[in-house]
Chain length 340, copies 2
């Protein structure tokens, strides 16, 4: 781990621990003493990939005001940063191995912030079985920009891919959809008085990476990605990378209780369910002949999966037709959309 | 490669290509069509590590106003970002394999900037034999924050380490020292009229990663790192991680012609040579019995190396005594230091 708080300057002399001190005090313990991380005192770390495995690499950057709220604290920011990266590993069917961390922090961020950030990372590491291997810590004059590169292991040739969908595949999602977008709206002051509003906000702030499911159904899945930019757009992207389209049945989309209650009162909120982001559920396509085996494997992980559509060669590449319970096309343009 | 320009929004509709368009047009070609990168259309990439090798991972982040100048153009910024990371691989003795790229860009950055940035990355890739494997592209309200995670291959057990220095080792540097710090001063308006000023500025802007040397001397080196934060501080850090100190002979430090000319006129500039950063030369410690073999191997790479000191157990851990040609201690506090 390196410290370049300023080009060619001496270490800063101030009441703060400074970047080196923060790395030593707060971040070095996150390596869990693994020798390959060299206690964050080197310019690089070492990763050993077992014979028979490949390494899956994913990168996600989050920025204050863009990917998290100005009022979010260091713990929740750490959780989100970690979990959005783990969600990408889950979508590949990979097992978490380690991660590199890059922190670009304004000078207004104090040692206490970094301590709380690191403490939450330690908790998340224990939850998901991953450890810090290295990174960088720098100063910026702008808002926090935080990057994790996450590394996972996958048996050679078994990585699930976004471009694996085939015509006739069933389209599944894990968990419930729409809570991320509705949670962001709730965090910004909508849905005052709704009993489940706090639950929605937590879903936006703390996504649940579906690692057990990704690993569990590996080999039974054709196409896979996580739903981070909105269900319809992500399904269009996945089908499109295979030159295919998709049918999506809106009445089959699994909803949480608070989301169901909200939609009962304002059906136009379906637009947020369909196109909002930040769900971090898995979107998976499964050949019809693997349906039973897939559902059995999924059930064993305890993570619910729901079939919501089909991949089809009937449409132009990347087109998604959203149909309601009567089979009528849902025109997304007719739904009132509140840009968030 | 993922695109999260805003939490849960539709793709932006504007004259710009947008993030997806920029990734497709400018960044996807940087994968050189390698299938493991999935054309940047997946959430992750795959890295295959040959049997017998380990993977070296290094992370460097650079920020406008901190690590490069406000007036620097996209090409030179791309070169610096790439080269500071490759310098870390060089210091490990690793061979470049691939890199992940995270771009946090303000909305004021237009498509032309990204095109020029990517074009320079393509040139650097060809020079150094590395390819893009994945990354992320996000929006920020602050200055550009650019991160590369670089991956290199190393035969198992052969990675050079910062903490390998042993008492009695000779201390070597590659190339010339001080040009980075003097170049930053020149870029900020010092040394007007000096014929070599432009050369110094280029040295600050475009460091030269010493990959051939790192690979060439692997096995003959005990401790290794790159000189990025200043020669004395970096040598102190290297010796200190082994619980040792060092002697540094200031008159042996290799200087470029313009640096020599500047120091002849103002000897106090030696402080910038000793403590300035951004040289990105390698700092290597070599056992006395390997001196001849090391110098022979180094010569074969065409990259000059100079012995400038010794590692010693005589001092407290991390102490560096800087001695002049007469053997007198140079008191760094007595030198006029201009904070940069």
């Amino acid at each position: 781990m390196t410290d370049k708080t300023s080009g060619g300057s001496h270490p800063e002399k101030c009441a703060s621990l400074g970047e080196f001190g923060r790395i030593r005090e707060f971040l070095a313990p996150l390596t869990l003493g693994h020798p390959d991380s060299l206690n964050l005192r080197d310019d690089a770390a070492l990763l050993t990939v077992p014979e028979g495995d490949d390494l899956v690499v994913t990168t996600d950057t989050i920025v204050r005001h863009v990917h998290f709220l100005a009022k979010d604290g260091p713990g929740d920011i750490a959780s989100k940063l970690m979990r959005v990266n783990l969600s990408d590993l889950a979508a590949k069917g990979a097992a978490p191995l380690g991660y590199s961390l890059s922190l670009a922090l304004p000078v207004s961020v104090d040692d206490g912030w970094v301590r709380a950030f690191a403490e939450r990372l330690a908790e998340e590491q224990a939850t998901f079985g991953i450890r810090l291997i290295g990174g960088d810590s720098v100063r910026t004059e702008g808002p926090e920009v935080l990057t994790i590169n996450a590394y996972g292991l996958i048996p050679k040739g078994q990585m699930m891919r976004r471009d694996g969908a085939k015509a006739g595949d069933l389209v599944y999602v894990t968990g419930t959809i729409g809570d991320g977008a509705l949670g962001l709206m709730a965090a910004r002051g909508d849905f005052i008085g709704l009993p489940g509003a706090a639950e929605l906000v937590r879903r936006y702030q703390i996504p649940e990476p579906r690692l057990a499911l990704g690993e569990g159904v590996r080999g039974l899945v054709n196409g896979a990605m996580d739903v981070s930019d909105g269900l319809v757009g992500d399904l269009a992207a996945m089908a499109g990378t295979s030159g295919l389209g998709a049918v999506l049945h809106s009445h089959l989309i699994p909803l949480s209780d608070p989301a169901s209650e909200l939609l009962a009162g304002d059906p136009d909120l379906m637009i947020s369910v369909l196109t909002g982001g930040d769900d971090y559920e898995l979107l998976l396509t499964v050949a019809a002949e693997n349906k039973a085996a897939f559902e059995r494997k999924a059930e064993a992980t305890g993570i619910p999966v729901t079939a919501i559509g089909e991949i089809t060669a009937a449409y132009t590449s990347g087109m998604v037709a959203v149909l309601d319970a009567d089979g009528n096309r849902v025109n997304l343009d007719n739904l009132k959309y509140t840009h968030i």
